[in-house]
Symmetry: D2
Subunit: 206 residues, 4 copies
């Protein structure tokens, strides 16, 4: 069944973070293996994140059990760095009563984009990144995504068994074609990353 999901899931570069909130110790993607993972990349001064992305992350945390779905915030500051530091984020988290783990994407002194955001090739904030139980990339979405298609995708991933051999990562060599489109990209991760923008809002391709 076709979906919003990337069909030739890719291995995911690790998180690179400088600080964490709401967790006793730093979180790694490896430590989340076996659970479906939603990473909500945001900036505290991004209106779309505050109005839509973060409330959706809160709903995700409330709607799914923690041992099945991990919800992680990632503060990917790529502008106004001087006023969105860790202390400002700490106050923001406190005022907005956010309770899920939130990591600070590690700043890169040589460019405005922080390291995870750059490595993951995120287009902006808010962005949703979804990994399957094997820790592989299944969705990368910039902008608003409706609850219905997002819920459908997560339900689908939650139903899939944790069986590494089930998935053949055919596209690691970049020779595959992009699911549901004619992007013809060498690497589906790159080639498909804009795919959700061509869909009607929140369309679940099934």
């Amino acid at each position: 069944m076709e979906t919003l999901m990337i069909h030739h899931p890719s291995p995911m570069p690790p998180l690179r973070t400088s600080r964490w909130f709401n967790t006793p110790e730093p979180i790694t993607l490896d430590s989340l293996r076996g659970r479906v993972v939603v990473v909500h990349a945001f900036q505290m001064l991004c209106p779309g994140c505050v109005a839509h992305g973060l409330p959706q992350a809160v709903r995700l945390r409330e709607a799914f059990p923690e041992d099945q779905l991990a919800v992680i915030g990632l503060h990917t500051v790529f502008e106004h760095h001087e006023v969105m530091g860790a202390e400002a984020l700490k106050a923001f988290i406190h005022e907005y009563r956010l309770s899920f783990p939130i990591g600070v994407d590690e700043a890169d002194p040589n460019q405005p984009l922080p390291r995870t955001m750059a490595t993951w090739k995120l287009q902006g904030t808010p962005s949703l990144v979804v990994l399957d139980r094997q820790g592989r990339l299944r969705l990368k979405h910039f902008g608003r995504l409706d609850d219905l298609p997002l819920g459908a995708m997560l339900g689908q991933l939650l139903e899939q068994p944790i069986a590494p051999e089930t998935f053949v990562d055919e596209d690691r060599d970049g020779a595959g074609t992009c699911t549901g489109g004619t992007c013809g990209a060498l690497n589906p991760w790159q080639g498909c990353r804009d795919k959700p923008f061509d869909l009607p809002a929140g369309r679940y391709l099934g």
Copy 2:
């Protein structure tokens, strides 16, 4: 994985309808076998249906492909019968621009509840009924249900293969216990029908 779903799915009594809109011929549950089915039971003068249920049905129709998910409206009139007849419904469907198939639940001259509503033991409107690809009952929910847990449940059902032998209908004899609770009902269909009310709003039990 536990969910909002009824875990010991039951066979579903057939639809009993007197008229259909938006479909060239009457729809039967048998004809939908192989697709996941959402039946939205409503009344045109029910505020909760107009404000929440029907817009959600429209979103469902837009978010999922028709060959995977069937969205059916069912006009279950159990009050004000004289002003919610088929002609009134026809005008309502036209004004609200509803495009999915809508059946009129067959009136019973001996009681206010129409026949499908009575046989399916629906508690009121709006009600959501979800059937799996085998046509068996997986959710019966009275009142509002959030998009996220509904989407998750549908994604999960869509991911399940159409393999009748996958599910053992252990509870056909009514001896099973209710999923995720201690309802101890003889028949999970009856015993669990109120279960969603005990949950936090839209909680997806996973």
Copy 3:
């Protein structure tokens, strides 16, 4: 001060109704003299009325005291007459828990528009008609109007004294020019009736 209001208020033709709900006896505009009056013209099967107009009428009723502001519903059926009769409306009023007086605009056997709607030259539903304490037309608005400019207009009218001589109805002869525009109409009631559509949504001209 200029406003959304018609500045050369016109005398208003009487209501022509065939039935009333939520009032012990029929209401006439004359009987409301001394209060500011909001008439919400609607149809029970009009989505915009159900989603926006009627909830706003309920808010108006809650926000202002009855002895200062009268809120009246007017069921102006101009389509689907056979399924929006008085009995259907009665069920609708009951289900939506509407508590303010609602009159049924008198049907005209010779044309689809009911008599008040035709005489008042309403363009459709929902429409808001506002009269000042002297019973004169001050606003006629088709479609959605935001709470802020509507509240501002009502506050302004409520502040104006009930002194007939304060207003010189200069335009009874139709020679005036239209407020805030260059409509140059002979009769400001006609010439200005479309004016709100040229404004930014809910713009209060002050």
Copy 4:
């Protein structure tokens, strides 16, 4: 006519600000004399301000003409001072595209409350302060206020002439009784400050 308004309007202590945005020069209350004034006191990390207060301020700016109604933001930081400085506010104003003048309430090294907030005895953020054309306090409201009663109050104030002698400031000595209640306070400004909380949400007392 009674309203949400303070009926024995008080002279208002001046704004004490350390910096302004969106205005070529600092704004004083005296310079706004002749216009009705809405001051929206907020903090950039206050969720209620971001979700309700500031969007309402934007709607106010759009709905009323500037020469009649002045809309002023006041950044009253009383917590997390170190991360809500002027530079952080500047980024916030940029990201949220706020276009009306915003002043920074002057910090007081001896206490957390900034000077204007303390002098005006504001209870928290968001707070709405409304002054009439004479520059006198007519409303001080902590928390959310619906558009309809706010619009009504502003319409009423806009309709009142700029005639200082119209109002006798009887309560300057604090001997008056509180409007619409039995607060019996010495000073209606103090005694009434909590009054809006006793009202049904957004009730316009008229």
